[in-house]
Symmetry: C2
Subunit: 322 residues, 2 copies
Protein backbone atom coordinates (compact mmCIF):
# COMPACT_ATOMS: atom_id res chain seq x y z
CA UNK A 1 0.00 0.00 0.00
CA UNK A 2 1.26 3.46 -0.82
CA UNK A 3 1.47 6.02 1.96
CA UNK A 4 -0.90 8.34 0.15
CA UNK A 5 -3.54 5.61 -0.10
CA UNK A 6 -3.19 4.84 3.61
CA UNK A 7 -3.56 8.51 4.55
CA UNK A 8 -6.54 8.92 2.24
CA UNK A 9 -8.23 5.72 3.46
CA UNK A 10 -7.72 6.70 7.10
CA UNK A 11 -9.42 10.05 6.52
CA UNK A 12 -12.31 8.39 4.70
CA UNK A 13 -12.84 5.84 7.47
CA UNK A 14 -13.04 8.71 9.98
CA UNK A 15 -15.71 10.43 7.87
CA UNK A 16 -17.64 7.20 7.44
CA UNK A 17 -17.50 6.48 11.17
CA UNK A 18 -19.03 9.86 12.01
CA UNK A 19 -21.71 9.52 9.36
CA UNK A 20 -22.65 6.01 10.51
CA UNK A 21 -23.04 7.10 14.10
CA UNK A 22 -25.18 10.05 13.02
CA UNK A 23 -27.37 7.75 10.89
CA UNK A 24 -28.41 5.44 13.74
CA UNK A 25 -32.06 6.29 14.55
CA UNK A 26 -32.28 8.56 17.60
CA UNK A 27 -34.09 7.52 20.74
CA UNK A 28 -36.87 8.66 21.07
CA UNK A 29 -38.69 7.87 18.87
CA UNK A 30 -36.61 4.70 18.39
CA UNK A 31 -36.72 2.49 21.52
CA UNK A 32 -33.40 2.99 23.36
CA UNK A 33 -32.59 -0.71 23.34
CA UNK A 34 -32.90 -0.82 19.53
CA UNK A 35 -30.57 2.16 18.94
CA UNK A 36 -28.12 0.64 21.39
CA UNK A 37 -28.21 -2.77 19.69
CA UNK A 38 -27.70 -1.13 16.28
CA UNK A 39 -24.62 0.73 17.54
CA UNK A 40 -23.32 -2.44 19.12
CA UNK A 41 -23.33 -4.46 15.92
CA UNK A 42 -22.19 -1.58 13.69
CA UNK A 43 -19.12 -1.49 15.93
CA UNK A 44 -16.30 0.97 15.53
CA UNK A 45 -12.91 0.85 13.95
CA UNK A 46 -13.52 -1.97 11.47
CA UNK A 47 -12.14 -1.53 7.96
CA UNK A 48 -15.38 -0.25 6.43
CA UNK A 49 -14.29 -1.55 3.02
CA UNK A 50 -17.71 -1.08 1.40
CA UNK A 51 -18.44 2.53 2.38
CA UNK A 52 -14.86 3.58 1.63
CA UNK A 53 -15.29 1.96 -1.78
CA UNK A 54 -18.47 3.99 -2.39
CA UNK A 55 -16.55 7.20 -1.70
CA UNK A 56 -13.58 6.12 -3.83
CA UNK A 57 -15.85 5.36 -6.79
CA UNK A 58 -17.51 8.78 -6.49
CA UNK A 59 -14.10 10.51 -6.42
CA UNK A 60 -12.84 8.44 -9.35
CA UNK A 61 -15.70 9.63 -11.55
CA UNK A 62 -14.98 13.27 -10.66
CA UNK A 63 -11.31 12.67 -11.59
CA UNK A 64 -12.17 10.73 -14.73
CA UNK A 65 -9.50 10.56 -17.41
CA UNK A 66 -6.93 12.08 -15.04
CA UNK A 67 -8.88 15.36 -14.79
CA UNK A 68 -7.83 17.73 -12.04
CA UNK A 69 -10.37 18.01 -9.21
CA UNK A 70 -9.86 20.36 -6.30
CA UNK A 71 -10.54 19.41 -2.69
CA UNK A 72 -13.94 21.12 -2.67
CA UNK A 73 -15.12 19.12 -5.70
CA UNK A 74 -13.93 15.86 -4.16
CA UNK A 75 -15.57 16.67 -0.83
CA UNK A 76 -18.83 17.54 -2.62
CA UNK A 77 -18.72 14.16 -4.39
CA UNK A 78 -18.13 12.38 -1.08
CA UNK A 79 -21.05 14.20 0.54
CA UNK A 80 -23.32 13.16 -2.31
CA UNK A 81 -22.13 9.57 -1.95
CA UNK A 82 -22.17 9.36 1.85
CA UNK A 83 -25.85 8.22 2.14
CA UNK A 84 -25.08 5.25 -0.12
CA UNK A 85 -21.91 4.56 1.90
CA UNK A 86 -23.89 4.48 5.17
CA UNK A 87 -26.79 2.53 3.68
CA UNK A 88 -24.49 -0.18 2.34
CA UNK A 89 -22.61 -0.52 5.65
CA UNK A 90 -25.96 -0.72 7.51
CA UNK A 91 -27.14 -3.44 5.12
CA UNK A 92 -23.82 -5.30 5.30
CA UNK A 93 -24.07 -5.25 9.11
CA UNK A 94 -27.67 -6.50 8.98
CA UNK A 95 -26.47 -9.44 6.87
CA UNK A 96 -23.69 -10.30 9.34
CA UNK A 97 -26.14 -10.34 12.26
CA UNK A 98 -28.57 -12.56 10.35
CA UNK A 99 -25.83 -14.93 9.15
CA UNK A 100 -24.70 -15.38 12.77
CA UNK A 101 -28.18 -16.27 14.12
CA UNK A 102 -28.61 -19.65 15.82
CA UNK A 103 -30.80 -20.91 12.96
CA UNK A 104 -28.20 -19.83 10.35
CA UNK A 105 -24.46 -20.16 11.09
CA UNK A 106 -24.95 -20.02 14.88
CA UNK A 107 -21.85 -17.96 15.54
CA UNK A 108 -20.91 -16.37 18.87
CA UNK A 109 -18.07 -14.06 17.77
CA UNK A 110 -18.11 -11.21 15.24
CA UNK A 111 -15.97 -8.12 14.77
CA UNK A 112 -14.05 -9.27 17.84
CA UNK A 113 -17.06 -9.20 20.16
CA UNK A 114 -19.87 -11.54 21.21
CA UNK A 115 -22.54 -11.56 18.49
CA UNK A 116 -25.67 -9.46 18.90
CA UNK A 117 -28.00 -12.34 19.73
CA UNK A 118 -25.61 -13.50 22.47
CA UNK A 119 -25.79 -10.10 24.16
CA UNK A 120 -29.40 -8.99 23.54
CA UNK A 121 -31.22 -12.22 22.78
CA UNK A 122 -32.32 -13.53 19.42
CA UNK A 123 -35.56 -11.57 19.14
CA UNK A 124 -33.90 -8.18 19.49
CA UNK A 125 -30.99 -9.26 17.28
CA UNK A 126 -33.46 -9.98 14.49
CA UNK A 127 -35.40 -6.76 15.05
CA UNK A 128 -32.44 -4.42 15.35
CA UNK A 129 -30.79 -5.86 12.26
CA UNK A 130 -34.06 -5.74 10.31
CA UNK A 131 -34.05 -2.11 11.42
CA UNK A 132 -30.62 -1.62 9.84
CA UNK A 133 -31.92 -3.06 6.56
CA UNK A 134 -35.02 -0.84 6.56
CA UNK A 135 -33.03 2.18 7.68
CA UNK A 136 -30.52 1.54 4.89
CA UNK A 137 -33.24 1.92 2.28
CA UNK A 138 -34.67 4.94 4.12
CA UNK A 139 -31.30 6.71 4.09
CA UNK A 140 -31.15 6.31 0.32
CA UNK A 141 -34.58 7.91 -0.13
CA UNK A 142 -33.94 10.83 2.20
CA UNK A 143 -34.16 14.29 0.69
CA UNK A 144 -31.40 16.78 1.48
CA UNK A 145 -32.38 20.15 2.88
CA UNK A 146 -32.28 22.03 -0.39
CA UNK A 147 -34.92 21.24 -2.97
CA UNK A 148 -33.98 18.03 -4.68
CA UNK A 149 -32.92 18.41 -8.30
CA UNK A 150 -34.89 16.16 -10.65
CA UNK A 151 -31.65 14.70 -12.06
CA UNK A 152 -30.53 13.81 -8.55
CA UNK A 153 -33.92 12.23 -7.80
CA UNK A 154 -33.48 9.93 -10.80
CA UNK A 155 -29.98 8.99 -9.65
CA UNK A 156 -31.26 8.27 -6.15
CA UNK A 157 -33.87 5.90 -7.56
CA UNK A 158 -31.16 4.18 -9.59
CA UNK A 159 -29.04 3.80 -6.43
CA UNK A 160 -32.06 2.33 -4.64
CA UNK A 161 -32.58 -0.16 -7.45
CA UNK A 162 -28.91 -1.21 -7.42
CA UNK A 163 -28.96 -1.73 -3.65
CA UNK A 164 -32.30 -3.54 -3.83
CA UNK A 165 -30.96 -5.89 -6.49
CA UNK A 166 -27.81 -6.55 -4.43
CA UNK A 167 -29.76 -7.35 -1.26
CA UNK A 168 -32.69 -9.27 -2.70
CA UNK A 169 -33.47 -12.83 -3.56
CA UNK A 170 -31.41 -12.70 -6.76
CA UNK A 171 -28.48 -11.23 -4.78
CA UNK A 172 -27.24 -11.51 -1.21
CA UNK A 173 -30.29 -13.24 0.25
CA UNK A 174 -30.40 -15.71 -2.62
CA UNK A 175 -26.71 -16.47 -2.08
CA UNK A 176 -27.29 -17.16 1.59
CA UNK A 177 -30.19 -19.47 0.64
CA UNK A 178 -27.89 -21.44 -1.70
CA UNK A 179 -25.32 -21.64 1.10
CA UNK A 180 -27.92 -22.97 3.56
CA UNK A 181 -29.15 -25.44 0.99
CA UNK A 182 -25.59 -26.76 0.52
CA UNK A 183 -25.29 -27.03 4.31
CA UNK A 184 -28.58 -28.96 4.54
CA UNK A 185 -30.31 -26.32 6.68
CA UNK A 186 -33.50 -26.10 4.63
CA UNK A 187 -36.01 -28.62 5.81
CA UNK A 188 -38.47 -28.73 2.94
CA UNK A 189 -38.34 -32.24 1.44
CA UNK A 190 -38.71 -31.09 -2.17
CA UNK A 191 -35.42 -29.14 -1.86
CA UNK A 192 -32.62 -31.61 -1.19
CA UNK A 193 -29.09 -30.72 -0.13
CA UNK A 194 -27.29 -28.96 -3.01
CA UNK A 195 -23.90 -29.87 -4.41
CA UNK A 196 -21.00 -27.46 -4.59
CA UNK A 197 -19.40 -27.43 -8.02
CA UNK A 198 -16.85 -24.68 -8.74
CA UNK A 199 -19.55 -22.92 -10.80
CA UNK A 200 -22.05 -23.13 -7.92
CA UNK A 201 -19.42 -21.78 -5.52
CA UNK A 202 -18.68 -18.83 -7.79
CA UNK A 203 -22.40 -18.09 -8.23
CA UNK A 204 -22.99 -18.27 -4.48
CA UNK A 205 -20.08 -15.93 -3.71
CA UNK A 206 -21.01 -13.51 -6.49
CA UNK A 207 -24.33 -13.17 -4.70
CA UNK A 208 -23.39 -13.46 -1.03
CA UNK A 209 -20.34 -11.20 -0.96
CA UNK A 210 -20.00 -9.87 -4.49
CA UNK A 211 -23.42 -8.29 -4.97
CA UNK A 212 -23.09 -5.70 -2.20
CA UNK A 213 -19.45 -4.87 -3.03
CA UNK A 214 -20.44 -4.42 -6.67
CA UNK A 215 -23.32 -2.19 -5.54
CA UNK A 216 -20.86 -0.12 -3.48
CA UNK A 217 -18.69 0.57 -6.53
CA UNK A 218 -21.68 1.22 -8.80
CA UNK A 219 -23.69 3.48 -6.51
CA UNK A 220 -20.69 5.69 -5.73
CA UNK A 221 -20.44 6.35 -9.46
CA UNK A 222 -24.17 6.64 -10.17
CA UNK A 223 -24.84 9.29 -7.55
CA UNK A 224 -22.24 11.69 -9.00
CA UNK A 225 -23.49 11.16 -12.55
CA UNK A 226 -21.22 8.48 -14.01
CA UNK A 227 -21.70 7.65 -17.70
CA UNK A 228 -23.04 4.19 -18.69
CA UNK A 229 -19.56 2.94 -19.73
CA UNK A 230 -18.13 4.10 -16.40
CA UNK A 231 -20.91 2.39 -14.47
CA UNK A 232 -20.26 -0.81 -16.38
CA UNK A 233 -16.56 -0.60 -15.58
CA UNK A 234 -17.27 0.06 -11.87
CA UNK A 235 -19.65 -2.91 -11.92
CA UNK A 236 -16.96 -5.23 -13.28
CA UNK A 237 -14.40 -3.77 -10.88
CA UNK A 238 -16.73 -4.40 -7.92
CA UNK A 239 -17.54 -7.91 -9.08
CA UNK A 240 -13.86 -8.84 -9.43
CA UNK A 241 -12.81 -7.47 -6.04
CA UNK A 242 -15.90 -9.02 -4.50
CA UNK A 243 -14.76 -12.44 -5.70
CA UNK A 244 -11.19 -11.72 -4.53
CA UNK A 245 -12.57 -10.65 -1.16
CA UNK A 246 -14.50 -13.89 -0.70
CA UNK A 247 -11.56 -16.07 -1.75
CA UNK A 248 -9.36 -14.26 0.79
CA UNK A 249 -12.09 -14.73 3.41
CA UNK A 250 -12.10 -18.46 2.70
CA UNK A 251 -8.29 -18.58 2.95
CA UNK A 252 -8.29 -16.65 6.24
CA UNK A 253 -10.96 -18.94 7.64
CA UNK A 254 -8.56 -21.80 6.88
CA UNK A 255 -5.28 -20.31 8.12
CA UNK A 256 -6.22 -17.51 10.56
CA UNK A 257 -7.04 -17.62 14.26
CA UNK A 258 -10.29 -16.33 15.76
CA UNK A 259 -8.33 -13.60 17.55
CA UNK A 260 -6.89 -12.31 14.27
CA UNK A 261 -10.19 -12.52 12.41
CA UNK A 262 -12.56 -11.24 15.09
CA UNK A 263 -14.85 -14.13 14.18
CA UNK A 264 -14.76 -17.89 14.63
CA UNK A 265 -11.96 -19.37 12.48
CA UNK A 266 -11.98 -22.78 10.81
CA UNK A 267 -15.75 -22.91 10.85
CA UNK A 268 -16.35 -23.47 7.17
CA UNK A 269 -14.11 -26.52 7.09
CA UNK A 270 -15.58 -27.90 10.33
CA UNK A 271 -19.06 -27.68 8.78
CA UNK A 272 -17.95 -29.14 5.46
CA UNK A 273 -18.96 -25.93 3.66
CA UNK A 274 -17.74 -25.44 0.11
CA UNK A 275 -14.75 -23.06 0.10
CA UNK A 276 -12.05 -22.10 -2.40
CA UNK A 277 -9.19 -23.74 -0.45
CA UNK A 278 -11.27 -26.93 -0.15
CA UNK A 279 -11.88 -27.01 -3.90
CA UNK A 280 -8.59 -25.60 -5.25
CA UNK A 281 -6.02 -25.77 -2.44
CA UNK A 282 -4.39 -22.77 -0.73
CA UNK A 283 -1.80 -21.78 -3.36
CA UNK A 284 -4.20 -21.98 -6.26
CA UNK A 285 -6.75 -19.97 -4.23
CA UNK A 286 -4.21 -17.21 -3.57
CA UNK A 287 -3.34 -17.09 -7.27
CA UNK A 288 -7.05 -16.87 -8.11
CA UNK A 289 -7.52 -13.94 -5.72
CA UNK A 290 -4.61 -12.08 -7.34
CA UNK A 291 -6.02 -12.78 -10.80
CA UNK A 292 -9.35 -11.23 -9.81
CA UNK A 293 -7.57 -8.14 -8.49
CA UNK A 294 -5.69 -7.82 -11.79
CA UNK A 295 -8.95 -8.17 -13.71
CA UNK A 296 -10.45 -5.46 -11.47
CA UNK A 297 -7.66 -3.09 -12.47
CA UNK A 298 -8.17 -3.84 -16.16
CA UNK A 299 -11.89 -3.13 -15.83
CA UNK A 300 -11.08 0.38 -14.60
CA UNK A 301 -8.45 1.07 -17.22
CA UNK A 302 -10.91 0.19 -19.99
CA UNK A 303 -13.20 3.10 -19.02
CA UNK A 304 -10.55 5.72 -18.24
CA UNK A 305 -10.98 5.31 -14.47
CA UNK A 306 -7.60 3.86 -13.36
CA UNK A 307 -7.96 5.62 -10.03
CA UNK A 308 -5.17 5.09 -7.50
CA UNK A 309 -7.55 4.86 -4.55
CA UNK A 310 -9.79 2.30 -6.22
CA UNK A 311 -6.68 0.28 -7.09
CA UNK A 312 -5.50 0.74 -3.50
CA UNK A 313 -8.77 -0.77 -2.25
CA UNK A 314 -8.32 -3.72 -4.61
CA UNK A 315 -4.83 -4.42 -3.19
CA UNK A 316 -6.09 -3.88 0.36
CA UNK A 317 -8.65 -6.64 -0.20
CA UNK A 318 -6.01 -9.29 -1.00
CA UNK A 319 -3.30 -8.00 1.34
CA UNK A 320 -5.41 -8.39 4.49
CA UNK A 321 -3.57 -10.44 7.06
CA UNK A 322 -1.72 -12.96 4.95
Amino acid sequence: MTVSFEVWAHARREQVEQALQAAVPASPPCPAVVSEAMRYCLGRGTKRVRPVLVLAAAEAVVRRGGAHADDAALEAARQLAMPAACAIEFIHTYSLVHDDLPSMDNDALRRGKPTLHVVYGEALAILASDGLLAEGFSILAREPDERLQPALALRKLQVLREVGRAVGAAGMLGGQAIDLQCAGRITHPSHPVGTATPEALRDMHLRKTGALIRAAAVTGGVIVGAQPAEIESLERFGEEIGLAFQIVDDILDEIGTSGELGKTAGKDRAEGKPTYPALFGLDESKALARAHVDAAGEALAGAGLPDEHLLGIARWVVDRRY
Copy 2:
Protein backbone atom coordinates in the same frame (compact mmCIF):
# COMPACT_ATOMS: atom_id res chain seq x y z
CA MET B 1 -71.27 -2.74 3.60
CA THR B 2 -72.95 -1.41 0.49
CA VAL B 3 -73.16 -3.69 -2.52
CA SER B 4 -71.16 -1.25 -4.62
CA PHE B 5 -68.32 -1.27 -2.11
CA GLU B 6 -68.31 -5.06 -2.04
CA VAL B 7 -68.19 -5.27 -5.82
CA TRP B 8 -65.45 -2.64 -6.01
CA ALA B 9 -63.38 -4.27 -3.25
CA HIS B 10 -63.70 -7.69 -4.87
CA ALA B 11 -62.38 -6.35 -8.18
CA ARG B 12 -59.48 -4.60 -6.41
CA ARG B 13 -58.51 -7.73 -4.52
CA GLU B 14 -58.37 -9.63 -7.81
CA GLN B 15 -56.08 -6.99 -9.30
CA VAL B 16 -53.88 -6.98 -6.20
CA GLU B 17 -53.65 -10.77 -6.22
CA GLN B 18 -52.40 -10.82 -9.80
CA ALA B 19 -49.90 -8.03 -9.18
CA LEU B 20 -48.57 -9.73 -6.04
CA GLN B 21 -47.98 -13.01 -7.82
CA ALA B 22 -46.22 -11.19 -10.67
CA ALA B 23 -44.00 -9.32 -8.18
CA VAL B 24 -42.53 -12.44 -6.57
CA PRO B 25 -38.93 -12.73 -7.82
CA ALA B 26 -38.69 -15.28 -10.63
CA SER B 27 -36.55 -18.39 -10.40
CA PRO B 28 -33.88 -18.21 -11.75
CA PRO B 29 -32.16 -16.02 -10.71
CA CYS B 30 -33.98 -16.34 -7.37
CA PRO B 31 -33.39 -19.81 -5.81
CA ALA B 32 -36.60 -21.83 -6.40
CA VAL B 33 -37.05 -22.58 -2.72
CA VAL B 34 -37.03 -18.85 -1.90
CA SER B 35 -39.68 -17.93 -4.52
CA GLU B 36 -41.76 -20.85 -3.32
CA ALA B 37 -41.49 -19.80 0.33
CA MET B 38 -42.41 -16.23 -0.56
CA ARG B 39 -45.56 -17.40 -2.40
CA TYR B 40 -46.42 -19.66 0.52
CA CYS B 41 -46.46 -16.90 3.10
CA LEU B 42 -48.04 -14.30 0.81
CA GLY B 43 -50.91 -16.76 0.52
CA ARG B 44 -54.00 -16.19 -1.58
CA GLY B 45 -57.47 -15.01 -0.88
CA THR B 46 -56.79 -13.03 2.29
CA LYS B 47 -58.46 -9.65 2.65
CA ARG B 48 -55.50 -7.58 1.43
CA VAL B 49 -56.72 -4.61 3.45
CA ARG B 50 -53.50 -2.60 3.05
CA PRO B 51 -53.04 -2.82 -0.74
CA VAL B 52 -56.76 -2.24 -1.34
CA LEU B 53 -56.43 0.84 0.90
CA VAL B 54 -53.52 2.11 -1.24
CA LEU B 55 -55.70 1.84 -4.37
CA ALA B 56 -58.70 3.45 -2.67
CA ALA B 57 -56.60 6.41 -1.53
CA ALA B 58 -55.27 6.92 -5.06
CA GLU B 59 -58.80 6.83 -6.49
CA ALA B 60 -60.08 9.20 -3.81
CA VAL B 61 -57.54 11.86 -4.77
CA VAL B 62 -58.52 11.57 -8.45
CA ARG B 63 -62.18 12.02 -7.39
CA ARG B 64 -61.38 14.84 -4.95
CA GLY B 65 -64.25 17.18 -4.07
CA GLY B 66 -66.75 14.92 -5.81
CA ALA B 67 -65.09 15.43 -9.22
CA HIS B 68 -66.14 13.09 -12.00
CA ALA B 69 -63.45 10.61 -13.00
CA ASP B 70 -63.93 8.15 -15.82
CA ASP B 71 -62.89 4.51 -15.63
CA ALA B 72 -59.68 5.13 -17.57
CA ALA B 73 -58.55 7.83 -15.14
CA LEU B 74 -59.30 5.61 -12.15
CA GLU B 75 -57.50 2.68 -13.71
CA ALA B 76 -54.48 4.88 -14.48
CA ALA B 77 -54.40 5.97 -10.83
CA ARG B 78 -54.55 2.36 -9.68
CA GLN B 79 -51.71 1.38 -11.99
CA LEU B 80 -49.56 4.19 -10.60
CA ALA B 81 -50.39 3.07 -7.07
CA MET B 82 -50.01 -0.69 -7.60
CA PRO B 83 -46.25 -0.83 -6.83
CA ALA B 84 -46.90 0.76 -3.43
CA ALA B 85 -49.82 -1.64 -2.89
CA CYS B 86 -47.60 -4.66 -3.60
CA ALA B 87 -44.65 -3.31 -1.63
CA ILE B 88 -46.79 -2.72 1.46
CA GLU B 89 -48.35 -6.19 1.30
CA PHE B 90 -44.87 -7.73 0.87
CA ILE B 91 -43.63 -5.80 3.89
CA HIS B 92 -46.72 -6.63 5.94
CA THR B 93 -46.19 -10.32 5.14
CA TYR B 94 -42.49 -10.07 6.10
CA SER B 95 -43.58 -8.66 9.48
CA LEU B 96 -46.06 -11.52 10.06
CA VAL B 97 -43.39 -14.15 9.35
CA HIS B 98 -40.94 -12.46 11.71
CA ASP B 99 -43.52 -11.99 14.47
CA ASP B 100 -44.31 -15.71 14.28
CA LEU B 101 -40.67 -16.88 14.62
CA PRO B 102 -39.78 -19.12 17.57
CA SER B 103 -37.72 -16.34 19.18
CA MET B 104 -40.60 -13.86 18.82
CA ASP B 105 -44.22 -14.98 19.32
CA ASN B 106 -43.46 -18.60 18.40
CA ASP B 107 -46.67 -19.17 16.49
CA ALA B 108 -47.49 -22.22 14.39
CA LEU B 109 -50.61 -21.00 12.55
CA ARG B 110 -51.03 -18.00 10.24
CA ARG B 111 -53.51 -17.16 7.49
CA GLY B 112 -55.08 -20.56 8.17
CA LYS B 113 -51.89 -22.54 7.42
CA PRO B 114 -48.79 -23.73 9.29
CA THR B 115 -46.37 -20.81 9.63
CA LEU B 116 -43.43 -20.53 7.22
CA HIS B 117 -40.78 -21.66 9.71
CA VAL B 118 -42.82 -24.77 10.50
CA VAL B 119 -42.83 -25.78 6.84
CA TYR B 120 -39.40 -24.62 5.58
CA GLY B 121 -37.35 -24.29 8.77
CA GLU B 122 -36.40 -21.15 10.61
CA ALA B 123 -33.39 -20.20 8.46
CA LEU B 124 -35.34 -20.07 5.22
CA ALA B 125 -38.30 -18.40 6.93
CA ILE B 126 -36.00 -15.56 7.98
CA LEU B 127 -34.33 -15.33 4.56
CA ALA B 128 -37.48 -15.48 2.46
CA SER B 129 -39.22 -12.87 4.61
CA ASP B 130 -36.14 -10.62 4.60
CA GLY B 131 -36.40 -11.02 0.84
CA LEU B 132 -39.98 -9.73 0.92
CA LEU B 133 -38.81 -6.66 2.88
CA ALA B 134 -35.94 -5.96 0.46
CA GLU B 135 -38.12 -6.69 -2.57
CA GLY B 136 -40.76 -4.32 -1.19
CA PHE B 137 -38.31 -1.43 -1.28
CA SER B 138 -37.03 -2.53 -4.70
CA ILE B 139 -40.54 -2.50 -6.15
CA LEU B 140 -40.94 1.10 -5.04
CA ALA B 141 -37.74 2.17 -6.79
CA ARG B 142 -38.48 0.37 -10.04
CA GLU B 143 -38.70 2.50 -13.14
CA PRO B 144 -41.61 1.93 -15.51
CA ASP B 145 -40.84 1.28 -19.16
CA GLU B 146 -41.37 4.81 -20.35
CA ARG B 147 -38.86 7.43 -19.30
CA LEU B 148 -39.66 8.44 -15.73
CA GLN B 149 -41.03 11.95 -15.34
CA PRO B 150 -39.04 14.04 -12.84
CA ALA B 151 -42.23 14.82 -10.88
CA LEU B 152 -42.98 11.12 -10.60
CA ALA B 153 -39.39 10.41 -9.46
CA LEU B 154 -39.84 12.88 -6.60
CA ARG B 155 -43.15 11.24 -5.64
CA LYS B 156 -41.53 7.81 -5.70
CA LEU B 157 -38.83 8.99 -3.31
CA GLN B 158 -41.53 10.41 -1.03
CA VAL B 159 -43.34 7.05 -1.10
CA LEU B 160 -40.06 5.30 -0.25
CA ARG B 161 -39.52 7.65 2.69
CA GLU B 162 -43.06 7.06 4.00
CA VAL B 163 -42.69 3.29 3.77
CA GLY B 164 -39.21 3.45 5.33
CA ARG B 165 -40.53 5.49 8.24
CA ALA B 166 -43.41 3.05 8.74
CA VAL B 167 -41.16 -0.01 8.75
CA GLY B 168 -38.19 1.33 10.67
CA ALA B 169 -37.13 1.60 14.26
CA ALA B 170 -39.44 4.53 14.90
CA GLY B 171 -42.33 2.59 13.34
CA MET B 172 -43.27 -1.07 13.02
CA LEU B 173 -39.95 -2.53 14.18
CA GLY B 174 -39.84 -0.15 17.14
CA GLY B 175 -43.38 -1.18 18.07
CA GLN B 176 -42.43 -4.85 17.98
CA ALA B 177 -39.42 -4.07 20.21
CA ILE B 178 -41.70 -2.36 22.77
CA ASP B 179 -44.01 -5.40 22.63
CA LEU B 180 -41.11 -7.80 23.24
CA GLN B 181 -39.86 -5.63 26.07
CA CYS B 182 -43.30 -5.76 27.73
CA ALA B 183 -43.26 -9.55 27.29
CA GLY B 184 -39.77 -9.80 28.86
CA ARG B 185 -38.17 -11.24 25.71
CA ILE B 186 -35.18 -8.88 25.64
CA THR B 187 -32.36 -10.27 27.70
CA HIS B 188 -30.12 -7.25 28.17
CA PRO B 189 -30.02 -6.44 31.90
CA SER B 190 -30.06 -2.65 31.44
CA HIS B 191 -33.47 -2.91 29.73
CA PRO B 192 -35.99 -4.30 32.24
CA VAL B 193 -39.49 -5.51 31.43
CA GLY B 194 -41.68 -2.55 30.41
CA THR B 195 -45.07 -1.67 31.86
CA ALA B 196 -48.19 -1.33 29.74
CA THR B 197 -50.06 1.87 30.50
CA PRO B 198 -52.92 2.83 28.15
CA GLU B 199 -50.58 5.44 26.61
CA ALA B 200 -47.84 2.85 26.06
CA LEU B 201 -50.40 0.49 24.49
CA ARG B 202 -51.59 3.19 22.09
CA ASP B 203 -48.01 4.10 21.18
CA MET B 204 -47.10 0.47 20.59
CA HIS B 205 -50.14 -0.14 18.39
CA LEU B 206 -49.67 3.11 16.47
CA ARG B 207 -46.26 1.75 15.52
CA LYS B 208 -46.89 -1.97 15.17
CA THR B 209 -50.12 -1.93 13.20
CA GLY B 210 -50.84 1.75 12.62
CA ALA B 211 -47.66 2.83 10.87
CA LEU B 212 -48.02 0.58 7.83
CA ILE B 213 -51.76 1.19 7.48
CA ARG B 214 -51.12 4.93 7.66
CA ALA B 215 -48.38 4.50 5.04
CA ALA B 216 -50.85 2.64 2.81
CA ALA B 217 -53.31 5.54 2.89
CA VAL B 218 -50.60 8.18 2.46
CA THR B 219 -48.62 6.55 -0.36
CA GLY B 220 -51.76 5.91 -2.42
CA GLY B 221 -52.35 9.66 -2.33
CA VAL B 222 -48.74 10.76 -2.78
CA ILE B 223 -48.11 8.75 -5.93
CA VAL B 224 -51.05 10.38 -7.78
CA GLY B 225 -50.03 13.87 -6.67
CA ALA B 226 -52.16 14.57 -3.60
CA GLN B 227 -51.88 18.08 -2.11
CA PRO B 228 -50.30 18.52 1.36
CA ALA B 229 -53.72 18.98 3.05
CA GLU B 230 -54.99 15.81 1.39
CA ILE B 231 -51.92 13.88 2.47
CA GLU B 232 -52.40 15.09 6.02
CA SER B 233 -56.03 13.97 5.94
CA LEU B 234 -55.09 10.54 4.54
CA GLU B 235 -52.46 10.28 7.26
CA ARG B 236 -55.01 10.92 10.00
CA PHE B 237 -57.49 8.57 8.31
CA GLY B 238 -54.89 5.81 8.17
CA GLU B 239 -53.86 6.37 11.77
CA GLU B 240 -57.43 6.17 13.03
CA ILE B 241 -58.35 3.02 11.12
CA GLY B 242 -54.99 1.52 12.11
CA LEU B 243 -55.92 1.94 15.76
CA ALA B 244 -59.42 0.59 15.13
CA PHE B 245 -57.88 -2.37 13.32
CA GLN B 246 -55.62 -3.25 16.23
CA ILE B 247 -58.42 -2.92 18.80
CA VAL B 248 -60.57 -5.27 16.71
CA ASP B 249 -57.60 -7.65 16.45
CA ASP B 250 -57.30 -7.65 20.23
CA ILE B 251 -61.04 -8.29 20.60
CA LEU B 252 -60.96 -11.14 18.08
CA ASP B 253 -57.98 -12.69 19.84
CA GLU B 254 -60.17 -12.71 22.95
CA ILE B 255 -63.47 -13.96 21.53
CA GLY B 256 -62.60 -15.73 18.23
CA THR B 257 -61.49 -19.28 17.56
CA SER B 258 -58.28 -20.20 15.76
CA GLY B 259 -60.34 -21.65 12.90
CA GLU B 260 -62.15 -18.33 12.40
CA LEU B 261 -59.01 -16.23 12.70
CA GLY B 262 -56.56 -18.38 10.74
CA LYS B 263 -54.07 -17.82 13.57
CA THR B 264 -53.79 -18.97 17.16
CA ALA B 265 -56.59 -17.40 19.24
CA GLY B 266 -56.35 -16.41 22.91
CA LYS B 267 -52.61 -16.11 22.73
CA ASP B 268 -52.24 -12.53 23.93
CA ARG B 269 -54.18 -13.23 27.13
CA ALA B 270 -52.33 -16.52 27.73
CA GLU B 271 -49.03 -14.64 27.54
CA GLY B 272 -50.22 -11.76 29.67
CA LYS B 273 -49.69 -9.31 26.80
CA PRO B 274 -51.24 -5.87 27.10
CA THR B 275 -54.45 -5.71 25.04
CA TYR B 276 -57.41 -3.35 24.77
CA PRO B 277 -59.93 -5.83 26.24
CA ALA B 278 -57.56 -6.51 29.14
CA LEU B 279 -57.23 -2.79 29.89
CA PHE B 280 -60.74 -1.55 29.02
CA GLY B 281 -63.07 -4.57 28.85
CA LEU B 282 -64.82 -5.85 25.71
CA ASP B 283 -67.70 -3.36 25.47
CA GLU B 284 -65.53 -0.31 26.01
CA SER B 285 -63.03 -1.67 23.46
CA LYS B 286 -65.77 -2.06 20.84
CA ALA B 287 -66.94 1.50 21.51
CA LEU B 288 -63.34 2.71 21.16
CA ALA B 289 -62.95 0.97 17.79
CA ARG B 290 -66.15 2.62 16.52
CA ALA B 291 -64.96 6.01 17.77
CA HIS B 292 -61.72 5.66 15.80
CA VAL B 293 -63.67 4.77 12.65
CA ASP B 294 -65.84 7.88 13.14
CA ALA B 295 -62.71 9.99 13.57
CA ALA B 296 -61.30 8.46 10.39
CA GLY B 297 -64.38 9.62 8.47
CA GLU B 298 -64.09 13.12 9.89
CA ALA B 299 -60.45 13.30 8.83
CA LEU B 300 -61.49 12.66 5.21
CA ALA B 301 -64.38 15.11 5.25
CA GLY B 302 -62.07 17.90 6.47
CA ALA B 303 -60.00 17.71 3.26
CA GLY B 304 -62.81 17.17 0.74
CA LEU B 305 -62.04 13.46 0.40
CA PRO B 306 -65.16 11.78 1.85
CA ASP B 307 -64.71 8.88 -0.52
CA GLU B 308 -67.22 6.03 -0.30
CA HIS B 309 -64.59 3.33 -0.81
CA LEU B 310 -62.27 4.71 1.85
CA LEU B 311 -65.24 4.87 4.22
CA GLY B 312 -66.16 1.35 3.17
CA ILE B 313 -62.68 0.15 4.15
CA ALA B 314 -63.02 1.87 7.53
CA ARG B 315 -66.31 0.03 8.20
CA TRP B 316 -64.84 -3.22 6.89
CA VAL B 317 -62.08 -2.95 9.51
CA VAL B 318 -64.49 -2.92 12.45
CA ASP B 319 -67.13 -5.22 10.97
CA ARG B 320 -64.75 -8.17 10.54
CA ARG B 321 -66.10 -11.26 12.22
CA TYR B 322 -67.90 -9.85 15.26
